[in-house]
């Protein structure tokens, strides 16, 4: 456990971050499924969103 981190693992980390950025872009520009609220009362609280996410395991 005290050995140095192999170079390959660092590449995997960079690739993972790049992949996640691409996924974010796809979701925003292709799916366009983020809600846009025009009314303050409609905005859910962070807790509500979290509980809903846990319940649905909705990515």
């Amino acid at each position: 456990m005290n050995s140095a981190v192999p170079q390959k693992l660092w590449y995997i980390v960079f690739i993972a971050y790049g992949f996640v950025i691409v996924l974010s872009a796809l979701r925003i520009y292709v799916n366009r499924d983020y809600p846009i609220y025009m009314n303050v009362n409609e905005i859910p609280s962070t807790r509500e969103v979290f509980l809903e996410w846990v319940k649905d395991f909705h990515l």
Binding site: Y17, I21, W53
Partner: protein, 554 residues
């Protein structure tokens, strides 16, 4: 609903955000880019990988944040929010890795890597879900991303990584203090990194919780200043001098602040920035000018001291010369009466003045031996004063070393037999060992080295040899060596053995006679012969070897 947001150019330039945002962010991006470029310069080696990552992540973060302020497009804002949220913790991780690689001179371990990976994994998973971006708040024409749990998780991570860095810095400081190593650099690098991260946290915190966005930009301006300090301390760590550091950093900060004025887009903001910069310039100028004055005063003081020291030194040289002359004179005066005492004692012992009683023979023998020792001491002092006065005269002619060594051994043999020491001489009788030598002086060296070995060998043997050896640079050399099985020497003793008035630490155990001048004189004589003399020993109680190397004339 129609919202009148300005259309941005190049994603970031518009009148949508506060004007100060360009001042703080563009200045920071420019400085970070400059620091990133500096890492490619051929400066002294320093850990660069983590620092470069830190700079790139920071530039990404600042650009993303500028988009959030300046852009009017919902999709752009949502995307850059995800990116900003994703990369923010990496600034903290890279800071920690940079500190570890600088202060502990090591890469992070698998254990640390796995810990970071486990901690960062949730941010990766959450960044493209509603846990990072819950939605977009367009009520009352606001342009806010509704942040989810991921943002709070990030705050938690940032606190954890800052804490880890603080612990690592404290640990390093403590270890170095215990081992009496310098703590200044570790403290400065640790403090720069922690201040950098705290400024960043403070800038975000102030902006979010107090809606004091103008003040929070100062935090973003402080970040590159601390980063520049970090590079400075990291790169210049071996020539670290606090006063120079303060002067350099003050000037650097001032330049950064003046440079940052290019990025002010609003005339009203300009007056505050210029006032702040002016105030800092006054403070820096005061410190710089007072520093220079102190420096000039110190230099003048040093100049005076140097002049005084030079005078004192000249006086000391004069006194030393007078001392040598006095010693030379005094010892010359001692030589004649000593010779008379020694001569008469010898004649009495040989019975030239009639039969002496057995009771008188013992004290007379002691008188004879003591005068002999005293004569050696006087000769030693005379040699020293000749060397110091530069009056030692050499008469170089080609001589065979073998003959000289044989003579010395023949002279010393009776004494060695008496002491029960086996003295042997190894030499190739077919070969010549001719060197340019002053035979009397060189014989004195050989006699001194062999006599030393005999004296410091209570029991056992002393082996003398003369050989030839080839040296790629010096050519053919004649090597004289004396190897004994005597009391030996430590490395520390060997280092100072050929200095004036130095005797082996354990010399008194075997022999009380000795001035500590013999080897010094031997070294001077050998060097005058363009030769080299040295000693070797495996340690106390393990015998000694003395070598004389002289250039052969054949």
């Amino acid at each position: 609903m129609m919202c009148t947001w300005d259309t941005s150019k190049f994603l970031i330039f518009s009148d949508n955000g506060i004007p100060l945002i360009y001042y703080s962010h563009l200045t920071s991006i420019a400085i970070f880019f400059l620091l990133f470029v500096i890492t490619f310069l051929p400066l002294r080696p320093w850990p660069k990988a983590a620092f470069r990552t830190m700079m790139l992540v920071y530039i990404t973060w600042l650009f993303g944040d500028l988009v959030l302020w300046g852009n009017e497009n919902i999709n752009h804002i949502l995307f850059f929010w995800s990116v900003v949220n994703l990369v923010e913790p990496l600034i903290f991780v890279a800071s920690y890795i940079h500190f570890v690689s600088f202060s502990e001179k090591r890469h992070i371990t698998m254990r640390e890597f796995i810990t970071f990976a486990v901690l960062l994994f949730p941010t990766l998973i959450m960044s493209f879900t509603r846990l990072s971006v819950t939605g977009f708040d367009y009520t009352n024409c606001d342009r806010n991303v509704i942040e989810g749990v991921a943002a709070y998780y990030n705050y938690f991570l940032e606190a954890v990584f800052t804490g880890l860095l603080a612990i690592a810095a404290f640990k390093q400081w403590h270890i170095r203090r215990l081992h009496n190593q310098g703590t200044g650099r570790v403290l400065l690098v640790g403090a720069s990194l922690i201040l950098l991260l705290l400024s960043f946290l403070a800038a975000n915190f102030l902006g979010t919780y107090f809606e004091a966005y103008n003040i929070s930009q100062l935090g973003h301006i402080a970040v590159p200043i601390f980063a520049a300090l970090l590079v400075y301390v990291t790169v210049k760590f071996e020539t670290f001098e606090p006063r120079v550091l303060i002067a350099d950093v003050s000037t650097g900060t001032l330049l950064i602040l003046i440079f940052s004025l290019f990025f002010i887009r609003d005339a009203n903001t300009q007056i505050y920035i210029i006032s702040g910069t002016f105030l800092l310039a006054v403070i820096f100028a005061y410190f710089l000018v007072s520093g220079i004055r102190k420096e000039v005063d110190t230099r003048q003081h040093i100049q005076t001291l140097a002049t005084d020291l030079s005078k004192a030194n000249n006086r000391l040289v004069e006194l030393d010369k007078q001392k040598s002359e006095f010693v030379s004179f005094a010892t010359h005066q001692l030589k004649s009466p000593l010779a008379a005492m020694r001569g008469y004692a010898s004649l009495i012992l040989d019975g030239d003045y009639g039969e002496i009683s057995t009771a008188a023979r013992e004290p007379l023998s002691r008188i004879f031996e003591s005068t002999k020792t005293l004569a050696n001491v006087v000769e030693g002092y005379l040699n020293i004063s000749r060397i110091e006065l530069g009056t030692m005269k050499y008469d170089f002619t080609p001589h065979d070393i073998r003959a000289m060594v044989s003579d010395v051994i023949a002279e010393l043999e009776p004494n060695t037999k008496k002491a029960g020491i086996n003295l042997s001489f190894e030499v190739n009788k077919e070969d010549d060992f001719i060197v340019q030598a002053d035979p009397d002086k060189l014989k004195q060296v050989f006699a001194n080295l062999i006599d030393n070995s005999v004296k410091y060998t209570p029991t056992g043997s002393v082996n003398v040899s003369v050989t030839k050896k080839q040296d790629p640079t010096k050519g053919t050399l004649v090597l004289f060596s004396v190897k004994d099985t005597g009391i030996g020497m430590s490395e520390k003793t060997i280092e100072s053995l050929f200095h004036k008035f130095t005797r082996a630490y354990n010399a008194n155990k075997t022999n009380i006679h000795g001035t500590g001048l013999g080897l010094f004189v031997a070294k001077e004589i050998v060097e005058a012969h363009k030769g080299h003399v040295w000693a070797e020993s495996e340690g106390e109680g393990k015998g000694s070897q003395f070598y004389v190397e002289l250039p052969s004339v054949k």
